[in-house]
Every structure is written in structure tokens, then in C-alpha cells.
Symmetry: C2
């Protein structure tokens, strides 16, 4: 999959730089956990790949424009990204440690009704359902920080 993605980019005239290849690899190997820009930088650094923060932000924009990743909003103020191919689903955020995981609601009656409806004179094009609570490690704590 990673190879096809990279090949497709090259076909379009984009270059397969070291940083780009590492980033694509990181997204493919991070299935159920969306990644923020700062986290991505940290993960690159952990592999001894130094990337300026401007470069990281530009690469996230680029991969989004190319439809390879999508921005998700888990309910805290931070943008995270994940592979677009994962399709529509939802997210859960730990209020204490900010961990985020992807969740899929089974038999979600709303899904079919949520989109394409008119709400408050808005033309609705999508929705996001975020859960929050305490992750396994944070359950012992009351909440936050």
C-alpha cells in the first residue's frame, strides 16, 4: 500500500523525499491512532529524521490535499491526522492524558440520517461524533491533567 501511494505521488510529478517517505510510512504504521503535527515531528526525530516544523506542517497539508490523509478533530483543540482510507468513523479522547483512539459505532442508526439533512438553514455536509472519558491507564484517576 505504501508503495502504491508513493508511486502515485511520483507519477503526479511530486518528489519522494526522505521526509515524505518517512511520514507516509508513519501514517501507514499508525492504524488506530491519529497523529498531531508535533507528535509527527517527535516520531521522525525518534528515527533520527530531523524535519523543520514548517516542513512538517507543509507535508501534512500536502498529503491532505492529495487525499492521502485527513484531518480529524478529537475534541481537544489539537488537529490530528490519519490515513484517509480508514473511512468515516469516530473518536474517543482521554480527558486526562489526551490519548485518542478511533472507534466505530456498530448499528449506528444515526449514520444514515445525519448527513444531507438541513439543520438551522445550514447545508450539512458532514458530522463528527467524539466521545470523551478516561482511557484504561487513566481510569484510576478522577479526571483531568
Amino acid at each position: 500500500m505504501r508503495q502504491e501511494t508513493l508511486a502515485a505521488l511520483k507519477d503526479k510529478g511530486f518528489r519522494l523525499t526522505k521526509i515524505r517517505k518517512f511520514i507516509v510510512e508513519i501514517f501507514y504504521s499508525s492504524e488506530a491512532v491519529p497523529i498531531s503535527a508535533p507528535e509527527l515531528r517527535t516520531r521522525l526525530l525518534a528515527q533520527n529524521v530531523k524535519a523543520n516544523k514548517t516542513t512538517v506542517y507543509r507535508e501534512l497539508d500536502f498529503l491532505s490535499d492529495q487525499g492521502i490523509i485527513v484531518e480529524i478533530n478529537a475534541g481537544d483543540g489539537k488537529k490530528r491526522y490519519e490515513l484517509q482510507r480508514h473511512g468515516h468513523h469516530h473518536h474517543i479522547l482521554c480527558l486526562r492524558c489526551s490519548a485518542v483512539e478511533c472507534v466505530t459505532i456498530e448499528n449506528c442508526a444515526l449514520e444514515d440520517q445525519l448527513n444531507s439533512v438541513d439543520l438551522k438553514n445550514f447545508k450539512v455536509t458532514g458530522h463528527a461524533l467524539n466521545f470523551f472519558g478516561l482511557c484504561e491507564g487513566c481510569r484510576p484517576y478522577t479526571e483531568c491533567r
Copy 2:
């Protein structure tokens, strides 16, 4: 309502400053539209009330701590606040102009099932359902900016 809220604060030993009274008034007169910190500052200024941004942020924290307002997340990265008494409901965000309105889903089958469930080993304590699309004024445009 505003008067009771202010009186209750005074009973607890807090002071009814000019800025605090204006802010409470603004929230009570802004029923279906949550307000961000920068917006709140602007609205104060429009009434010739100059408030340092630190003061505005501190007042939002204070009113949240007092249970008078709650922070809501409409899906863009920005924190907004609204009266707590409005109770649980959802929000819709315009992808072009960032306008936010409150929405209540009628016959929402999910509501009863969404909370108090275990997801991914998380202890779920709440959820947020955000819609996005184009507001009435932005409908003519394709999207964004």
C-alpha cells in the same frame, strides 16, 4: 435570571465588577450562539468596556468553575462558551465563515445509548456531536475561506 446569577455570586463572596456583569449579560443575551474568548472581548469593546485579554480568559475560567457557563467544542480548534443551563445539545459549524449554532436532534435514538458505555477500554463520560456544512449566507459558495 441574570440577577439571580449575580446575586448568587455575591453571596459566595465574589465581587460584581463592571466586566463580570457585562460578561454575564452577554451570555444571557446570546442564547443560541456560543462565544469564544476573542469574540467576547470584541463584544465588550463594542459596548465601550475595555478588558485585558487576561481578564477575559480568567473570567471565562471563573464562570466555568462556578457552573454558570460551559466550554463547548464545535469542531474547529476554538473554544467557545455558552450558558450551562442550556443543557446537553449539539452544534453545527459553517466550514466557510466558522459561524456556530446550537442544534437539538429530535428523537435522537443515540442519546440514551451514547453515554455510560465502554469503548476501547475507555470509561466514557460524555460525547459531542458536531455537524458541519455551510450556513445560509455561505451556501452559494463551494466551501471554505
